[in-house]
Symmetry: C2
Subunit: 333 residues, 2 copies
């Protein structure tokens, strides 16, 4: 197994220690239970936002903790849901009296544990709203999911809801904005190679030297189709058609677009994919108003990419443009 690690069982803990050492100005890391929290939490009178999920998708979610985005993130073991006690402790740590929003990716373990944590917190008088993100158009139901999987739209939801909370929107409003983002966001991914979970020590799935998987999940869950590798243009057209036809996005729409690397794909390829996506959308009369190109929701060292489109009106664009200061996303500060 080719990884820059010590013991496989210490990967998450030691990586979190690195985050704590690198970003002490922005975040604090709490161990046992593990969560990353804004250095200035709880912010009195502000809605708190908590997300979380298995580790191995960095920078999501810990890299998005800070001013204008998440108040806390709960990292589970690699590709493993965090536990209710992590979520409960994080929720309490960020509760500034205005309630807490849980942004939950649609995986059975995440959903169940966040529900349990919400109930525990509500029993102690903390108002909690939960929004489940299920934006992956690839498949209905999956290895760890009933319904659609939650993927790239989560990143956009965390940014946009973080801005709404920061300007003082109340819990119901922030939760409604999160639902609006989920309703208007669609994603799809693909992989050229597998990844290797440290504790497993071998690739999650086998894939031939000339094959790719279209519609892959972020844990290597099967997608729509295994096929011979195609050109970037053909790949973007396949994923783009699946995404655009699903909402559907229409001529005249403006979108926030994310071309996301799965962890092992170089930036030179991601910009090439962005070029194809831009041309594809132009052909549909869809305008990219804002964009992210890079590694934002990864699958360890998997080679591949995903595309996320969010239909954006002036409200969402204004929130997108608001200042953000986290380890992985920063502007206006």
């Amino acid at each position: 197994m080719k990884k820059l690690i010590n013991k496989p069982e210490d990967v998450v803990k030691e990586s979190l220690a690195g985050v704590a050492a690198a970003h002490a100005d922005l975040v604090k890391v709490h161990f046992d239970p593990n969560f990353i929290v804004r250095a200035d939490a709880p912010v009195q009178g502000k809605v708190g936002i908590v997300s979380g999920g298995g580790s191995g998708h960095e920078p999501m979610h810990g890299g998005f903790v800070g001013k204008g985005m998440l108040d806390a993130a709960c990292p589970g073991d690699v590709f493993t849901s965090p536990t209710p006690d992590q979520m409960e402790a994080a929720t309490k740590a960020v509760n500034g009296g205005a309630g807490v929003l849980h942004i939950v990716k649609n995986y059975t373990g995440d959903v169940m544990n966040f529900e349990m944590a919400a109930e525990l917190c509500q029993a102690e008088g903390i108002e909690v709203e939960s929004v489940v993100i299920d934006d992956d158009v690839a498949v209905q139901d999956s290895l760890y999911t009933a319904g659609r999987r939650g993927v790239g739209t989560t990143v956009l939801a965390e940014k946009i809801c973080g801005a709404a909370a920061e300007r003082g929107d109340d819990l119901k409003t922030v939760a409604d904005i999160c639902r609006k983002v989920n309703a208007n966001g669609r994603s799809m991914g693909m992989a050229l190679t597998s990844c290797t979970v440290p504790m497993a020590g071998k690739p999650t799935f086998d894939i031939g030297p000339d094959e790719m998987e279209i519609g892959i999940g972020i844990h290597g869950e099967p997608g729509r189709e295994r096929m011979k590798i195609k050109t970037a243009k053909e790949i973007v057209e396949m994923m783009g058609e699946a995404i655009v036809s699903d909402l559907p996005f229409k001529s005249g729409d403006q979108v926030i677009a994310m071309v996301n690397g799965m962890g092992g794909t170089p930036l030179i390829e991601l910009y090439l994919v962005y070029n194809e996506l831009n041309q594809f959308l132009k052909g549909k009369g869809i305008t990219i108003a804002r964009r992210l190109v890079g590694n934002y929701i990864t699958s360890l060292e998997m080679a591949g990419c995903s595309i996320t489109l969010l239909k954006a009106d002036d409200q969402l664009l204004e929130l997108w443009d608001a200042p953000v200061h986290t380890p992985a996303l920063r502007w206006g500060v």
Copy 2:
């Protein structure tokens, strides 16, 4: 070959088109000859800064073009020096009357071509200074280099010199600051896997499933030693000792540290490496005053990392902290 591309010969051009489409607010891309230039170039009265080198190291250098960093970057073909006409055209495009600094990584082709471009520009009345970065402690002379290779310190030099130029320092001062950064910066890299140049279609070098290469170059040039994979702690100690003993860095020093991914290494591992580096340096009495953790000077999809340390006084830290607004590095804006 598992890559998100169309034709191998079009990779650089199509990726540049993606950069142009994604970052039109920050940069313009000029084709034939290829260079990326600040959208507002030339900035009258400001020293211009131009760098460049083979493609495949993204975000370096094109991702560092913008306010407070580079005025232009010349991307060659993958792992191939850009040509003098690219450098000449870029230098002319950024000349605001205060002269132009060339920041050149120490590879024979880069050095020769930047020299030729400087002469051509000087013949037309543009004042040009050149600083060659040669910070890689791994080996003396290499496959494409007489002397030491230029690697991670280049990123720090571009940020710091960009800030000096932005505040109005004159050409001699900016060049002197660049020499000071090079004199106080040291790097070393390692690889777990090879990368594949698109036009070659096969891995640059062979490496066993249980092997790593310590002291690797950013084009896969041989390093110091091929050995069995060790733990992250042992790897950091090997690279750290080589770097620290070279300058040497001493107890009481403060440094800007970069833990850089080679392109195929997930962020969870890079933060784990940062944790080891932080502990290693603490043990030496060396303080990390500022840091970057991520992919900044890559080698396509190579798995591995490099460490760069720059001994930093108040002058360098002030320039480091100054606002920067480029596709890949942004703060204070």
